[in-house]
């Protein structure tokens, strides 16, 4: 934005600033090289320790020593790439893309944009107002607000790294489906009159795109900034999650939880959602719990429903949204989203 700030950035990060393409290429190569070394390195460390590799402790140690750097490396890589992608999708640009569109296709678009637009739940209200002011339909705004926190790169990376790509893909697809359908239903219900008066009376604005004109090296810097911010914040949860996974590795009987969170107990899904809604933590904080539940034999649908309800619906967010929405609309929002998550849980448990 300002010439001086840019030249300073370039001075701080000379190399990526001068030759960003070469930096990205070499960075990617170094990342892959490191990733390939993890398995042999973890085996070598365990072999050097005075424990039997075939014992429970040896297995748990190898699992922990391999999985921790693997997950953190994956997370850092994907958060970096998403940080760069995010720099293309500012909230202002997303708003301009959605403004004036009719419902239906716009709900799909809003949910997908929710994945790539940077979002923090403390900005939920200004973002909500900004969307409504620019003429984004209410239901479309909700599709965005549901998808943005629930379907994000941290949740997807951790699911992929710990439970495989099938679970990650299912979470992505079902999370988007809940956001799209719930937003569409809220739009159909014509609840505009349940906005607070001052929000409806805000002057309309025309959504325009403020070209940020970031250079490639500026985007690389944005990538590093999000790695510092996100990975710096979530790594303790990730390590805790893997430690729990490693601890359970062969120690706790597999069917421990199955009796009351297994597939046969139909009421386990509504119970998981009921427990999940008032709870609040970020996508990484929930992973240790998910890991423990799954390892002890809880059904996948139940666990995913639990995870979605914790991330997507939270009490603090409702309190924040109360400033712009009347109770009736908040209740509808929670009801519709919780029902969607419930259906996801049931469908999952029935199909798998």
């Amino acid at each position: 934005m300002f010439g001086t700030s840019f030249s300073m950035n370039a001075a701080v990060m000379r190399w990526p600033g001068r030759n960003p393409r070469a930096f990205l290429l070499l960075g990617a190569l170094a990342w892959f090289g490191l990733y390939r070394m993890l398995a042999p390195a973890s085996e070598a460390i365990v072999a050097a320790l005075p424990v039997d590799r075939a014992s429970h402790l040896g297995g748990a140690l190898q699992f922990f020593l391999y999985d921790t750097p693997k997950v953190l490396l994956l997370l850092a890589g994907i958060v970096f790439v998403m940080g760069m992608v995010n720099s293309y999708f500012t909230p202002e640009r997303t708003r301009a893309l959605l403004a004036g569109r009719t419902e239906g296709a716009a709900n799909v678009m809003a949910a997908c944009l929710g994945i790539v637009t940077p979002f923090c739940s403390c900005s939920a209200v200004p973002l909500f107002i900004g969307f409504v002011q620019a003429g984004v339909p209410l239901g479309v705004t909700f599709s965005f607000l549901i998808a943005a926190p629930m379907v994000n790169e941290v949740a997807l990376t951790l699911l992929f790294a710990l439970f495989g790509w099938k679970v990650a893909l299912l979470y992505l697809g079902l999370g988007l489906a809940v956001a799209i359908v719930a937003g569409w239903i809220i739009g159909r219900l014509k609840m505009e009159r349940h906005l607070e008066d001052w929000v409806r009376d805000m002057p309309r604005v025309k959504a325009g795109i403020d070209g940020d004109g970031l250079s490639l090296s500026g985007r690389i810097e944005a990538g590093f900034a999000s790695v510092r911010e996100i990975v710096g914040k979530v790594w303790p949860y990730v390590v805790a999650g893997i430690a729990i996974g490693a601890g359970i590795h062969g120690y706790v009987p597999e069917e421990f939880m199955a009796s009351f969170m297994g597939r046969e107990a139909w009421w386990s899904v509504p119970l998981a959602v009921l427990i999940g809604v008032p709870m609040y933590t970020n996508a990484a904080g929930i992973i240790p719990i998910v890991e423990a539940l799954l390892a002890k034999g809880a059904a996948l649908g139940t666990v995913l429903a639990f995870m979605m309800s914790v991330i997507a619906l939270s009490l603090p967010e409702m309190v924040i949204l109360r400033k712009v929405l009347r109770m009736r609309l908040i209740a509808t929002f929670v009801g519709v989203v919780a029902t969607g998550i419930l259906l996801v849980g049931f469908a999952f448990n029935a199909l798998l």
Partner: protein
């Protein structure tokens, strides 16, 4: 200079306030810093993602803690 930091009081907003104060003091620029926490006022300024920074009535930043270099830029070459 009249500096406003917009945000609901989350950790990032507090970090932004601290950073702006620090850089301004280091550069010897006299500023009057206020925090805008009311959602209505933030929205009225057209900012959709917090923390945001307004200098002399102009939005110079929105959506996250600004980098130190960016903040220094405001005080080196204040926007007209």
């Amino acid at each position: 200079m009249e500096v406003k930091v917009l945000g609901s009081g989350c950790a990032n907003c507090r970090n932004t306030v601290a950073l702006v104060e620090q850089v301004a003091a280091a550069r010897g620029v006299a500023i009057r810093l206020t925090k805008v926490e009311d959602m209505k006022d933030i929205a009225a300024l057209g900012v959709m993602s917090t923390p945001g920074v307004v200098i002399d009535g102009r939005v110079v930043h929105a959506g996250g803690v600004p980098s130190r270099e960016k903040v220094q830029g405001w005080f080196d070459a204040p926007p007209a």
